[in-house]
Amino acid sequence: MEVTNYFTLTIPAYSRNESFARVVVAAFAAQLDPTLEEINEVKTAVSEAVTNAIIHGYGEKGGEIVITCTLRADNTLEVIIKDTGVGIEDLEQAREPLFTTRPDLERSGMGFTVMEEFMDSVSVDSKPGQGTVVTMTKKLSTGEQGGHETNL
């Protein structure tokens, strides 16, 4: 399906950039005029993946996160969030609800579960020592289909 727009954003892995990452993806998705609920779901999923890169990928020691968003002619939004941190040893275990390697940081282990709930598809590619790439897609409604509720 034809790509109609895209962006690539590189940010340092600072926790204060979590909200910035959400705003940028939401502003980009808003060009389709989706519902407020869809925008909130995308924002939440982005927040989960970016936070994971900061906390788990880079162990809160900084590094860079690359976010790539693509819109296609069928109104599908694809969000790719990439870090070059420690990577994930056991992907299947990582995606289980309530599983976390950092209970000491009060992590709930629900990050991947939230991403899966709020997006249409979530795929994770990771190599220990090399980093993690989370790819999520979601089909958004457009204004004609009953959007017009957002104001970004």
Partner: protein, 113 residues
């Protein structure tokens, strides 16, 4: 994110407004922690009317405080959830630990006040 605190008897009402994510959750943890350290708080009521965003990091910090209250059988209640926050409570089962009430009066009532 902005936090307001108000205590009456052994009940602490915590108002959280704005966006509760990993970045802001540290502040919420320390703000509530400071009150608990003083020793006079038994239950917590969360006023979430102005909370516009919460992700699983917010969930983690609320769960953490919930567990602390458990040490002395204290309860945590919430009211005024916006749809997007309500969804996170339901999806993650948090509403089974932190009961959601329609308003402040109903929270007080549930605590027997």
């Amino acid at each position: 994110m902005k936090i307001t605190k108000q205590q009456s008897g052994d009940i602490l009402v915590v108002g959280v407004s704005g966006e509760l994510d990993h970045h802001s959750s540290a502040l919420l943890k320390s703000e509530i922690g400071a009150e608990l350290d003083k020793g006079g708080v038994r239950h917590i009521i969360l006023d979430l009317r102005e909370l516009t965003f919460m992700d699983s990091s917010g969930l983690g910090v609320l769960l953490g405080r919930y567990k602390e209250l458990g040490k002395w059988q204290g309860k945590m209640l919430a009211f005024g959830l916006q749809p997007v926050v309500e969804k996170m409570f339901r999806l993650t089962g948090l509403n089974q630990l932190i009961p959601v009430h329609p308003d402040l009066a109903s929270c007080y009532k549930a605590l027997g006040v």
